[in-house]
């Protein structure tokens, strides 16, 4: 998989380049597929069972909170200081994509505010080097889903309804399962459209 590097907001539309040759002979293709399955099924069976159990949530939490390049705390910003979500994620009210704030926006406050803290120094490091911060994406939808932030902000859906109580989290994790079931439940409750193409593209 090759991710599009130009796409600044993590949309999958940049496209995925896959390597399977469309010009291969179908029968050879099938044969290869069968042998692959055999290897997976027989040799890797114990591993498979382990992953299955692990995936079932017995051993660990379903929603991980990956370490970010800067230990940014939503709890401090959105919780303690009550900064509105849309102050930093501005595009949510005018675009399908909420996006993340530019480094310039972070520096707008942090040139002075808490400039001596180690994490803020890291931020300044990125700014001084003129490097964007390689955040790790927590929330996302698959390529076949078209989700629009602006439509939901306009319909007065609160951010936490999908993103969970982010303002209580030092390190953000996916506290809410963004499944189709959840989308549909909410759409039904609010009498929003449940037509397939409202969300599927």
């Amino acid at each position: 998989m090759v991710h599009n590097t130009i796409d600044m907001c993590g949309r999958k539309g940049g496209g995925v380049c896959r390597t399977a040759s469309p010009f291969a002979q179908p029968d050879r293709h099938t044969a290869r597929l069968v042998s692959t399955f055999r290897i997976i099924a027989i040799i890797l069976l114990p591993l498979v069972i382990f992953i299955t159990i692990a995936e079932s949530g017995v051993f660990r939490s379903r929603n991980e909170a990956p370490g970010q390049p800067i230990d940014f705390s939503h709890k401090i910003h959105a919780g303690n200081y009550q900064i509105s979500c849309l102050y930093c994620h501005t595009n949510a009210r005018r675009s399908p994509v909420a996006g993340v704030p530019s480094v310039q926006r972070c520096m707008g406050c942090h040139t002075i505010t808490a400039a001596d803290r180690p994490e803020v120094r890291k931020l300044k490091g990125y700014w001084d080097r003129q490097e964007p911060i390689p955040w790790i994406k927590i929330f996302g939808q698959p390529d076949f889903v078209a989700f629009s932030h602006v439509a939901h902000v306009r319909a007065h859906v609160a951010c936490e309804e999908c993103h969970g109580p982010v303002e209580t989290m030092d390190r953000v994790h996916k506290a809410v399962d963004l499944t189709m079931d959840r989308c549909l439940g909410c759409h039904r409750d609010r009498q929003a459209s449940i037509d397939c193409v409202t969300c599927h593209k």
């Binding site: 399977a20 964007p132 955040w135």
Partner: protein, 1007 residues
């Protein structure tokens, strides 16, 4: 554990493995350092520019998302194309993102291999050479394609600074004969404005104005406007020529004449008109002179040479004289044969004696194509190269090694030039012979301007940052001039080409709008795509002396003993420059329905005589060269004539054009027909210096079968009534409307009827407007991330296009009429595909769309089997987009993977966006606001989309048009697409210009 439990676990384990795999690797979320003012992520930004895929100079809008271009559309403000684009224009994106673009400068070493080097070194190397050339006062030549505006001026200025002035604007199709004939007859070496729209009758002597001739998007629009039934009148169109081109296929009548006899046909008609005194406004004194000149073109002589009977010729002449106004055009083979200038002169004279000069043929505004170099200039250049007069040759985006006849010897002459520098985006046959290759920006990355017609000043701006480390040609020239510093080169004080451009536009500003601030003028021009001015009419008069000179030697070509080969520019690849765009390779040629290939069209009777059958690989020998081409049997060429499209047969142009490229994809078997340009004679036409596009050939069957990939099943409709037609007489109110379909049974439904509470989207397609140009097909590829599958897959019927142009033949087998019909998902109200889907992946939605949910589809293909229109496409594989072609993908449309069914969605992403916009602005959706990609680009506005629930919408009105019908209606599918029957005059009606159609209801007939 018993066997059964083992399998259960195995199945469970397999499923779990897949679940495990689906958890994605961490994805980055990269912010801007400083937000870009023009970009809101997720919102499109549009930039106006000019299309440079051919010399027509259409206005173009580029849609960019997060800084990358994803779609191009016509610029509605540009007078040439008014918002529409052809298929080649749509494919401009695949030039920008072409995986075969040259990425850094290349210098040929002693072993003849290209070695990459840095820009600094490359420019340094070249600057040293330029200094030497200047010191020794040696000649430098620039060879560019059709160029106008600031870059054109800069090149001239640059050459002067180096003490040279030889400069060629080279296009293989340069309309030399039109210019020469106009010079002789009217004293103006120019290409005039042809007004198709106001004509009552068009005679085209070989001019393929709907294919590639001069400005096909503009002429398509005007032609369709002429053919609407507005005010109860529909213009007639008769094509005279040896081959049924796309343009000829749209004619009411195709008069087949032998190649080279178009001129005497026109002269014969002039003779009839003068003899019968039905001319219009010709002064008495001139009549006698004209009469003398055309006296020998008797109907008898013409009938002997062309096979057109005297009565027919007289009928045609009388008809043309009656048209008020008419328009006679000459082009294609007529304009590039041995008597090209005389032929065009005869056609001009036909226009003159019927009073069309000044009415439908106007010498204002003139096309800037009149500045093109002629083929004769190229031949002279080759001579100079061979004589060692040329010390350095600079080439930019031209490929003469490919597009000049091999007998011209350009390739050999290149070896005599010590320094050959190629500035362009692609490796091609000519660039491969260069010493130094300097990769430049594509037009979508460049600043520039374009003056396609007098008064139309188009402005080009970069739509995105350069994809690779290329440089703009203008900047490169400035930098070279400065680095090879000499006193005169120091006159280049501009920092960049952008400054050169702005300085030129400052002068334009002073001329056209001095009252405004320059910055205002500039930014308005950038937004609009240029400044468009009306021009003043020019008065011209006939020069009788010139006329006599032009007519010298006009006679029909002696019929050769062997076959005559006729070459024509391909609608997909033009002169070959479109051959490395995968969309254009996969796009079927509208007439032959063939993909990925070149071919030789031969009449079935000739084929039988020579024991040739479809797909035989033939050795084609002209007096100059020989190539191999597969045979395609077609009644669309005259007996004794064979025809081949140019554009294919590349040997060094990238993976989609050249089967021998190391990365070649899509060809299947590694063989492809040769380059037909090679066969042509190099001698220019005597009168105009133009390139001759025909030559006598002999054919030898090699006995090898060559697989041609055709998308056509049968050329005949077999009484299915798919593409229907109606005659003007039948359209009159009260006349019975014929139905060539099976009777429609009483509608029966197993399921409750669908409800469409708010909208019901529908489409109307006017077959009388559709010319079959296939622009819609390419637009759909671009908009909907449709993969290209390659020749072998196409041959297996696995092409993925969501919309296709079906071509049907009607009438006698030797002279069939042609009908085109765009076929796409009909979004049936009672869709046969829906009830057979076991997983509910395809269903009818509340707005009348038949939708396909990709993530639900399991690939049973039942839906496709049950679709009577055969518009569903199955992903047999996950098809690749070689980098960086994937940057073009539309993020609003899913990229499908193998095992999934897909089809036309009516561009649901555009519907969603249109609804969201209307909702944001608190208003209902406006009719015409939502346009699928196909309808948006259609040059003739044949496709209309809208809401059937709104009785005032254009699509609702059209769906009550007396010409309406729905394809395969008797199957009770209840399609959402209404087709309007093509209006085909019955035999007697072609020769009548009367069409008093439906009287008061004529507005409904308008499209």
């Amino acid at each position: 554990m018993n066997r059964r439990d083992f399998f259960k676990l195995l199945g469970f384990g397999g499923a779990a493995t897949l679940t495990g795999c689906s958890s994605q690797a961490p994805e980055g979320l990269i912010p801007y350092l400083v937000p870009v003012e023009e970009i809101i992520p997720g919102q499109a930004t549009w930039y106006a520019t000019i299309c440079r895929e051919c010399p027509a100079g259409c206005g173009m809008l580029v849609k960019t998302l997060e800084g990358r271009a994803v779609k191009v559309e016509g610029n509605p403000d540009h007078p040439v194309n008014r918002g529409r684009l052809c298929g080649r224009g749509q494919a401009a994106l695949q030039g920008l993102y072409n995986p075969d673009r040259i990425r850094q400068p290349l210098l040929k070493d002693a072993s003849g291999q290209f070695k990459p080097l840095s820009w600094h070194d490359a420019e340094g190397w070249l600057a040293v050479r330029l200094k030497e050339l200047r010191a020794h006062r040696q000649e430098i030549v620039w060879l560019t394609p059709h160029l106008t505006g600031a870059l054109d001026q800069l090149i001239d200025r640059w050459l002067r600074a180096f003490g040279s002035q030889r400069r060629l604007r080279y296009e293989p199709f340069a309309y030399e004969a039109i210019k020469a004939a106009n010079k002789l007859l009217f004293g103006l070496e120019a290409i005039p404005t042809y007004d198709l729209q106001s004509s009552q009758l068009i005679f085209s002597f070989g001019s393929d104005f709907l294919d590639t001739w001069i400005s096909p998007v503009m002429y398509s629009r005007e032609f369709a406007a002429m053919r609407t039934c507005e005010a109860g009148h529909m213009g007639r169109f008769i094509f005279i020529g040896p081959r049924r081109s796309l343009t000829a296929a749209n004619a009411d009548r195709w008069v087949s004449v032998s190649p080279g006899s178009e001129g005497i046909m026109a002269a014969g008609m002039v003779r009839v008109i003068i003899a019968e005194g039905i001319d219009r406004g010709v002064p008495k004194g001139e009549i006698e002179r004209i009469k003398d000149l055309v006296d020998r073109y008797t109907p008898h002589l013409i009938s002997q040479t062309t096979g057109v009977t005297p009565a027919d010729l007289e009928g045609l002449a009388r008809l043309f004289a009656k048209a008020d106004p008419g328009l006679a055009l000459s082009g294609g083979a007529a304009e590039s044969g041995r008597y090209a200038t005389a032929t065009v002169a005869a056609v001009n004279l036909l226009n003159y004696v019927t009073g069309n000069i000044g009415r439908t043929v106007r010498f204002s505004p003139l096309s800037s194509l009149n500045r093109l170099s002629s083929h004769r200039d190229l031949v002279a250049l080759i001579q100079a190269m061979n004589d060692g007069e040329i010390s350095a040759l600079f080439l930019s985006e031209v490929n003469p090694v490919f597009s000049l006849p091999r007998s011209a010897g350009f390739e050999q002459a290149l070896d005599k030039v010590p320094l050959v520098v190629s500035c362009g985006s692609f490796m091609d046959e000519t660039t491969a012979k260069a010493t130094l290759v300097l990769p430049t920006h594509t037009p979508l990355e460049s600043w520039g301007d374009d003056e396609s017609w007098e008064g139309l000043y188009g402005l080009m701006q970069p739509a995105m940052e350069p994809v690779f480390g290329t440089k703009p040609l203008g900047d490169l020239m400035l930098s070279l001039a400065k680095r090879s510093s000499n006193s005169r080169a120091a006159a280049f004080t501009e920092e960049s080409f952008y400054e050169v451009l702005r300085n030129r536009w400052r002068k334009l500003h002073q001329r056209v709008r001095p009252e405004t601030e320059f910055e205002t003028f500039w930014s308005e021009a950038l937004q609009r795509g240029g400044v468009f001015q009306e021009t003043h009419p020019r008065r011209i008069s006939l020069n009788l002396g010139g006329l006599a000179k032009a007519f010298q030697g006009l006679q029909a070509l002696a019929r050769p003993d062997n076959l005559t080969l006729l070459l024509y520019p391909s609608i997909n690849h033009f002169d070959g420059r479109g051959a490395n765009r995968p969309w254009l390779q996969e796009l079927p040629d509208p007439l032959t329905q063939l993909t990925w290939d070149s071919w030789l069209e031969i009449h079935p009777e000739d084929a039988q005589r020579l024991a040739i059958s479809e797909g035989d690989l033939l050795k084609v020998q002209s007096p100059y060269d020989e190539i191999e081409l597969p045979a395609h049997l077609s009644a669309g060429v005259r007996r004794g004539t064979v025809a081949a499209p140019v554009g294919q047969g590349h040997t060094a142009y990238g993976r989609y054009a050249d089967p021998h490229n190391p990365n070649a994809v899509g060809f299947g078997e590694k063989r492809r027909g040769g380059n037909p340009f090679a066969l042509l004679p190099f001698e220019p036409e005597a009168g105009s210096g133009g390139l001759l596009l025909s030559t006598p050939v002999t054919l030898t069957n090699t006995g090898v079968k060559y697989p041609l990939a055709s998308v056509s099943g049968s050329a005949r409709q077999h009484d299915r009534g798919i593409a229907q037609a109606i005659s003007p007489a039948q359209l009159r109110p009260g006349e019975p409307k014929p139905n060539t379909q099976h009777p429609t049974p009483e509608a029966r439904q197993m399921y409750p009827p669908h409800e469409h509470p708010v909208h019901r989207w529908g489409m109307a397609i006017d077959l009388n407007a559709c010319t079959g140009c296939s622009a819609c097909v390419v637009a759909c590829y671009a908009e909907n991330n449709i993969p290209v599958v390659g020749k072998e897959q196409v041959a297996m019927g696995r092409e993925m296009s969501w919309i296709r142009i079906e071509r049907f033949e009607e009438g006698p087998a030797d002279r069939p009429g042609t009908r085109f019909i765009p076929m796409l998902c009909q979004h049936c109200d009672n869709a046969p595909c829906e009830p057979v889907c076991p997983v509910y992946a395809t269903l009818h939605n509340s707005e009348g769309l038949n939708i396909q949910v990709y993530n639900r589809c399991v690939g049973t293909r039942y839906c496709s089997n049950n679709c009577p229109y055969k518009v569903r496409r199955f992903n047999w594989f996950t098809y690749p987009w070689p980098e960086p072609l994937h940057l073009q993908l539309n993020p609003d449309v899913t990229v499908r993977e193998s095992g999934v069914m897909e089809k036309c969605t009516f561009c649901v992403q555009r519907i969603t966006a249109g609804k969201a916009k209307a909702k944001d602005e608190g208003r209902p959706i406006r009719d015409g606001e939502i346009e699928p990609a196909c309808a948006q680009t259609c040059p003739t506005n044949a496709i209309v989309f809208g809401d059937l629930k709104d009785p005032t919408s254009a699509v609702s009105r059209l769906s009550h048009n007396p010409r309406r019908y729905r394809v395969l209606e008797h199957l009770n599918t209840q399609p959402a697409i209404t087709y309007l029957k093509k209006i085909i005059p019955a035999n007697g009606e072609v020769s009548s210009l009367e069409f008093r159609g439906t009287g008061s209801t004529h507005n409904e007939l308008n499209t």
